[in-house]
Symmetry: C2
Subunit: 111 residues, 2 copies
Amino acid sequence: MGVTKTDLFTQEQNELANLAKAFAHPARVAILQYLLASNKCINGDLVNELGLAQATISQHLRELKNIGLIQGNIEGASMSYCINPEKWQSVQQLFNGMFDQIENCDPGECC
Amino acid sequence: MGVTKTDLFTQEQNELANLAKAFAHPARVAILQYLLASNKCINGDLVNELGLAQATISQHLRELKNIGLIQGNIEGASMSYCINPEKWQSVQQLFNGMFDQIENCDPGECC
DNA sequence: AAATAACATCGTAATAATACGATAAAACGA
DNA sequence: TCGTTTTATCGTATTATTACGATGTTATTT
């Protein structure tokens, strides 16, 4: 690409964009939904659930973990992942903080 | 990339991912915030506000329009863009539908 | 009509994101 | 100890995304 010009934007804008990236792939959405439904999971669960290779799942899990949406605990030979509830709620609030600004919108103007 | 394997995922997962992509770039977040604050804008406003080239802004506007988050009306020689409030609210509900599923999470399990 | 203004689109260069096979590392069981 | 299981990481091929100059189109102005 041309590289994204991060310095042109506010910290909030960059943060929102980075968080949105976590949800911007159906595999990661599927992983998060799976975690929401089953509280936790291991890599192998997802390999069976989704049709992706183990390396690919691991890569998506790492991204979600880097962003902070999920956390992983070692559990014997396997790795147990679950959602980070504090981060989850802060992300929800950040998104709703943006969504709710539609209230200030004047319908007579355009929308 | 390897191409994203859309057929592996549910329609909801693909839809959520596509919507998230709209927010997954700081320039588009900035455009949406600008629209929320000023109700409407034209391409030229954003060229001044952000530091990006006119062609780049136009490209981001087109993506937001294709997703349905914004709409554009011809206004003389210029193009007036604004947020599509119905779509906006449906997107908020879709995201919150996912966020709210954290309620079913059992803290004793892992998180 | 000619010049100007405002966008959209095209073409393309540069970079980010996906996917996966192969391999490495760590824990467990026989 | 040795093989098995599970996950992470590396390397790399492929595709998507950004950015922008150049150009075309439409409307406005002079």
